[in-house]
């Protein structure tokens, strides 16, 4: 016997998903607008704003030379730092282990806009000008915790008997780790790397402070274009980001448990 669920449930579900998806669909719609304004529904369809996007040096630089480069570098760095850190706190026993584990996740607690301000003042103090390096170093702080989470989840999910079996068959501890455990961690490493990339690729709060000439990220460039009024090129750039992020999340959902990432 089941009790009827109240209508509030589907109403809230529709309301929330509309609120979440409407802005994305509107942005994609505006990007195909034939007119020059932010019209939705679009007044006729065209690809002109995509060609404007690819013809615009600031947009192309922000997308290909800054955001993609910083995102990939961040993904690589965060995966190395994060995987090592996760192995350190999951596989070893030492005093203060739990405190260190909590410390590793603090970047998720500190509001990013404040971290951005703090890092800006720090780099100024050190005499470091805004560059791809300072941007990557900053993005590493906020994206590594995601790798730690996914690798921790992966490590916890691996049956320790597999490694024990390898060792009882004569493998050393290191051999057992590299030949048995590491291959099993592949999907959690991959989703960690993807998430690190997305966090960097979508970040605005750090970029607000750390962007400089030639190091403006795509979200930052979109943000300033919106403030100046702008045209649907903004929507085309945004639509590209939405598609990239959507495909990457789909990939994570395929190879790993999305649940453990957030």
């Amino acid at each position: 016997m089941s009790v009827r669920r109240p209508v509030v449930l589907p109403v809230a579900v529709v309301l929330v998903y509309t609120g979440l998806l409407a802005p994305l669909l509107v942005v994609i719609g505006v990007s195909f607008n034939a007119g020059g304004g932010f019209d939705f529904p679009p007044r006729g369809l065209s690809l002109r704003w995509y060609s404007t996007f690819f013809a615009s040096t600031p947009f192309v630089t922000a997308f290909f030379r800054v955001s993609l480069v910083v995102g990939v570098l961040t993904a690589i760095g965060a995966t190395m730092l994060g995987a090592l850190a996760a192995i350190g706190v999951v596989r070893f026993r030492f005093p203060g282990r739990e405190a260190l584990e909590a410390f590793f996740l603090t970047p998720l607690l500190v509001p990013h806009i404040l971290l951005g301000a703090a890092l800006y003042l720090y780099f100024v103090r050190l005499g470091m000008k805004p560059s791809l390096l300072t941007m990557t170093l900053s993005h590493l702080v906020i994206s590594t915790p995601y790798v730690i989470r996914s690798v921790t989840a992966g490590l916890v999910g691996i049956d320790p008997r597999l490694e024990e079996a390898a060792m009882s068959l004569g493998a050393s501890r290191a051999q057992a780790f590299f030949k048995v455990t590491l291959p099993l961690l592949r999907s959690s490493l991959m989703s960690g790397a993807i998430f690190a990339f997305i966090i960097s690729f979508s970040d605005i709060n750090l970029s607000l402070f750390l962007s400089g000439p030639g190091t403006t990220t795509l979200p930052m460039h979109i943000f300033s274009e919106i403030q100046w009024g702008g045209d649907p090129t903004i929507a085309a750039a945004s639509a590209l980001q939405i598609v990239i992020v959507g495909l990457l999340i789909l990939l994570v959902q395929r190879v790993f448990r999305l649940r453990l990432m957030i």
């Binding site: 932010f38 090592l84 590793f104 970040d203 979200p219």
Partner: protein, 285 residues
């Protein structure tokens, strides 16, 4: 399998990121703390003279109002997210795995797309000739001005941050055995009674962590208030941004930032205590 060794091998693994965080998180925040007690000088920005002025300044009516407005917006956002988020979390938690996978995907993709882009979408929807006003005109009603009001900021914040509420709530509801729901309804409880007496109290830890997340990110939000509230709805985030990059009052910005960090950490601490007590209370001992 955990390794306890006489030699600190763990340092080799956990050391690099630990050191990294000290250099790029702890020291920068410590520097802010130091700035916040130094004097602002128009010529040198930071003068080496100790002062409490950056903090006493926060008692000026302007700053009191700024904080009250920001906290009010964050609180309203959190409450709306909880009210809307609960039903969604419940439906997702009790859905078939395939439905849940789709629901989760549609929740996480917006969350991971840059805030700038989602807020931009909302400005198009709520703008003067946006979807909302077009619909109103079609219905023969007068268009309304929503953009650049606190309402607009709240609409933006709720939609940007609601996944932070739904995800922990969903995880908490999933852990409640469906058999408890059946027991309650078999004993004659209506769905609403069952929800209030079973789901609500048992998913409380999820509500606390969701509320904490939404409240703290709303408290330090910048992009959404700036794009949807404009100059009329100033919040702490925009004040900090202006003081760092426009007026170069770094000591002033540092004190503001430190207050927000302190508030956030206190809330995290309180939330941890709250949820721990609940977890303890649940144990049949």
């Amino acid at each position: 399998m955990q390794i306890a060794s006489r030699r600190p091998w763990w340092l080799l693994f956990a050391g690099p990121y630990g050191l990294y965080l000290v250099i790029l998180l702890v020291i920068p925040i410590a520097q802010i703390a130091a700035f916040s007690v130094l004097t602002y000088s128009p010529t040198r920005i930071v003068a080496r003279e100790l002062t409490a002025g950056n903090y006493t300044r926060l008692l000026d009516p302007y700053f009191v109002q700024l904080f009250l407005r920001t906290m009010r917006l964050a609180l309203i956002t959190t409450v709306i997210c909880a009210v809307l988020g609960y039903p969604v979390a419940y439906v997702l938690a009790r859905a078939r795995p395939s439905v849940m996978a789709v629901g989760l995907f549609l929740l996480v993709v917006p969350l991971m797309v840059s805030t700038v882009i989602r807020t931009f979408g909302w400005t198009v929807i709520l703008g003067r000739n946006g979807l909302v006003n077009q619909t109103l005109l079609l219905l023969g009603l007068d268009p309304i001005r929503i953009m650049y009001t606190e309402t607009a900021v709240i609409i933006g914040l709720v939609n940007v941050f609601i996944p932070f509420m739904v995800l922990p709530l969903m995880a908490a509801i999933e852990r409640i055995p469906p058999s408890l729901e059946e027991a309650a309804t078999n004993l004659g409880a209506s769905w609403v009674q069952m929800f209030a007496r079973v789901i609500l109290p048992m998913s409380y830890p999820g509500l606390v962590s969701g509320a904490l997340l939404v409240y703290t990110v709303s408290l330090s939000a910048f992009v959404t208030p700036v794009l949807m509230g404009g100059a009329r709805v100033r919040v702490v985030g925009s004040q900090i941004f202006d003081e760092v990059l426009v007026s170069f009052n770094w000591p002033g910005a540092s004190s503001l930032a430190l207050v927000v960090i302190a508030v956030t950490l206190i809330l995290v601490f309180l939330a941890l205590r709250l949820t721990r007590n609940v977890a303890r209370g649940e144990k049949p001992s």
